[in-house]
Subunit: 351 residues, 4 copies
């Protein structure tokens, strides 16, 4: 049984983990850690879980945090994980961070990312960056098997990387620029209320934001450049629509002349042939985010217009699942060598 503790348990990330681990036959939650409401049961923060978890919230500096635990999920804002990781790693405890703190091996990439979220580019655990693994199992399964430190991918980034990786791997792309037009539900912005996500302001309104530069572009660029062994350029437009869960990323690229729809579909089928959470669709299929809502699936619709060598991929994920907690559990499963779909093998609840 994998013993799990969660830092930042009261947010959407922690909530997702707590829900998923209830279904996991080989893992159990042994502690929840937060800065607020110390001593209270986690059900105080998350009323729907009070019949399921009676664990009291521990303070971050509680010495018991380091005992009875195999892996810690750090579901906290940027800048927290980097100050905590070493302490857990020192005791042989694996560490999976939900922020951007460990998504980059390169201080320069981290600094670029950091500048987009208003943080200075210095990193409190720069020495750990080398050993951190980007926690996207589809691309880093082998490295996950041996690492103790994981940076859980960004939600938008996951949808874009999974959507374009096969095309880059198979050298189908002609132009270096990939357009990522991404729409997300509001839960992607977290649990904290703000004017733009107040129900009356949002229920019938959508908008693009961070047009001057979103932080996720760095990890998309990095991952796709690695898989394609070439420098890619990302034009990334984040948008919010009035729904709770779901990302729909529409990706545009130019394929090399002569590349047919069949070639592309073959490349994607080949790349994802054994993947338990990826499903491929053609432009004739009807695909909606509701089909993957609450699940760890990524549904990819692929269309090639041979007349103008254009490739269109529509990538569908649940931002809180494949885009966050589900992906983290999948990475944990790989790290502990248990079946990769453990705890994740349930369909959406519909409608």
């Amino acid at each position: 049984m994998i013993k799990v503790k969660i830092i930042g348990a009261g947010g959407y990330g922690g909530c997702g983990l707590l829900e998923l681990l209830l279904r996991h036959p080989q893992a159990q939650v042994t502690g929840v850690i937060d800065i607020a409401d110390v001593g209270k049961p986690i059900g105080t923060l998350l009323p729907h879980l009070k019949d399921y978890y009676t664990l009291p919230i521990c303070a971050p500096d509680d010495p018991s945090n380091f005992t009875d635990v195999d892996v810690v999920f750090c579901a906290t804002p940027d800048g927290v994980g980097m100050t905590l990781a070493q302490k857990f790693l020192d005791k042989g405890i694996k560490f999976i961070d939900f922020s951007g703190d460990f998504r980059f091996n390169n201080p320069a990439d981290y600094a670029g990312y950091a500048s987009r979220i208003g943080r200075d580019g210095s990193h409190a655990s720069r020495h750990l960056l080398d050993s951190a693994v980007y926690g996207l199992a589809e691309l880093h399964r082998q490295e996950l098997k041996t690492t103790s430190l994981v940076g859980n991918p960004g939600c938008f980034a996951t949808s874009c990387i999974l959507g374009m990786a096969p095309a880059l791997k198979h050298r189908l792309i002609d132009s270096p620029t990939i357009i990522c037009d991404c729409k997300t539900g509001v839960s992607g912005a977290g649990k904290k209320p703000s004017p733009g996500f107040h129900y009356p302001a949002r229920y019938d309104s959508m908008n693009a934001y961070k047009l001057t530069g979103h932080q996720h572009v760095f990890e998309i660029k990095r991952e796709l450049s690695i898989v394609g062994e070439t420098d890619v350029n990302i034009v990334f437009t984040p948008q919010v629509v009035p729904m709770c869960r779901g990302i729909l990323s529409t990706l545009y690229a130019t394929v090399k002349q002569g590349i047919t729809a069949e070639t592309v579909m073959d490349a994607y089928s080949n790349f994802y042939q054994d993947e338990p959470f990826i499903r491929l669709f053609s432009s004739n299929d009807t695909v909606m985010t509701s089909s993957i809502r609450g699940t760890n699936f990524c549904y990819l619709t692929i269309k090639v217009d041979e007349s103008c060598s254009s490739l269109l991929v529509v990538s569908h994920i649940d931002n809180l699942m494949k885009g966050q907690a589900g992906s983290a559990i999948q990475a944990m499963n790989v790290m502990f060598d248990v079946p990769e779909t453990q705890g994740l093998n349930l369909p959406a609840q519909y409608p």
Copy 2:
């Protein structure tokens, strides 16, 4: 292993059963039956389930429907179950019907119900009414253990009956009239599109309906009269609000003079002390339908105003779970003597 077949698998009722039975360790779906799309896999109708079920849809008259099956759920509109039940019962197959066909033991009650939904009051299997059990486990657990024929309760009715049964059982009520002010999400109206549930017509609009008389009033009246051993009168106002899942029923009654808040809370605690799916709250607690969304729970908030002898109960359920498929699985568990929470013991997914 309980072998289950589902008639009317493509609607919300059948969909809920298919989802829940995936989690059930002691039951499995061996067949799906529908009038449309015969021969196609059920995933054609319910795309989010196509990775989980490959069963082809069988026609209602397919002889194989009667083999390899212990219980049939008939998730169809009113009038269908009454024509099918006997055939399955004859072969020793238990039958759980989702419509009003088997909710009444008395032809007169059925006729009243039928008149409210535009059906004539004759019943195609009148001889079976006597042996049918109203499938609300909290009130009919003993009878469920031995019956083969169940009428699954209406969603509004479940919320009202569970909310008022303890007060009647413990003889707390003074006046015969109970007001049931009920609000439901749109999924309660089923999967079929209609002008009032078209997204643009509904997204920011609520309304009361069937003010001239809703059919659920008959089962509420009957069940509460039985439990209270007195004739109760129900004023019932159904209302639709722009959400998908959830019923919030606000129930008003007058308690006998001198009845205190403590007496009432004791009565409810006593009545529901061993119930796995009922939770009680006081008027100081914050309770939202999101806490029970997607679950089989019923949350009851109880308030007594001693100054005017008024009792207020707010009853929260998910109309598709405790109000439909969840309740049916709970009844099945009782009927087959497996633990009552099997397949139902998961919390809401939040947010």
Copy 3:
């Protein structure tokens, strides 16, 4: 031309006034006053109005606030209007307050109200209470014609009072207790974000709240007692549903024996015969809040069940219009003796 200034212009109340006054042929906004963003144009706070208003926000203590103005709307939280009213009245400027500060003529009633919102019961302008008029034109039209000080009614209160006043006026009610089961959209809670109104927490969730006592019950009780010349008792249950605009209040009372549906409908028709914003419907009509969304109408559906002497009234208003800014403009029209529907005579925008 009536010259209008608005205090608290950036909230939903101020916003509604600014929108309505654009359509008003006999009134114009000459100033906007707020504590924040002083000096900036109001379009900074309300981007959809920046093409329509270029007025800069003035500080509350700006001496120019008292010039070039006939009436001030004080769209601020409780406790502000009571400190400002006298200064404007002294200069002959009429004062319409949106909070509960001037809804009561009686310090005791105010103290009751105040206790429900966490304020102490003392009133900074107690000497003004006597001359304040409750701004519901349908009940206080004559007094509005001569007053300079108005307390704009609460949104829930408006729906309940309009729904029950005719029954009380015509002495149709038998029991002193009236049940008000009220549902509101989220905009009723104002513009400030909070956890319960964060989009992901609210999009598919409803709840009852303030079960221990809501402040609006005092004005409902007072107004209905006056019109009925009897003491009425109010059971009031506020509920929030996931929509933006709209209140649907379902009201229950017992009518005297022998009172027929026809008698009741006649009483309501008589009471509201010349009212421009009230419409009556029977229980056979389909009425939805979308029909009055964005308008100053109140739609009342009336049903009498003669068999049990029960009266049911469903009252539909837009909480920000007839429940707030629309009602205030209507009161202003009466106070300045211009046609009562000026600025208010437009239908809903559908869908």
Copy 4:
């Protein structure tokens, strides 16, 4: 006073016209024509308008349709207007059609469009195509002044054409391909219920559709090719999100090397300098569709990334206003030489 009749008055298009014409000081509705509910007042179909219009619905073949009328709006599905236009034109009555029937001057373009909506490419009034004007006032104001026959633009098309026309006019674009990633609220699909727009299926789900080819691409391509005097290629991805009103189209193009952000903004400012309904924003501004909801405005956010010569334009309209009824009224104003903003000069109602 312009006398107006509306064919297809009960749909969203007709509804929008009826609402707008109430505010129009120089136009009035003298007749409503529909195939259903003939003889009934229009308020039967549109309950929110029953206090405002008492006109009975006339049958399409009612001879009175041709009297007391200066202009007819034909708010019907494709294929209807082409059979009716000549009859009205013969009597000197102007004709504004909401479908694609008169959006093309060229039978070949029409045939392409028709093939995308499952119609055969023949046109019942081919001889009229030459004289029809595409009703986008910003691009065809001069032609509108003299024509009697207008094809009202498609909603998606309007957002894309307005977003890219200045860049093409000023020869800023380098590559012939323009990507139009378009998201719409559900009202764009009309009033008729269907499974994908049923509230429970849509409230938390988004999807791309018609990936094999949407009909609006033809008018976008045509209009932009004319204004740019060059052949443009359009990649067009329509998407539906769970909201009622609003289109947000994100447009991507490559600008010529050396083109700066300033050059682009100057070009747009110049192109739209006197336009009453176009507003320009930079990538630093926060722009949401709620600001233009219910209005005739088009808000354009413009961003140039000089490092990779990319142009991004986010175009915001209300699909039922600037995307449909508002645009049609604007065209009518031009045709009848009344001020272009008549009836259209009101802001959004917020929230």
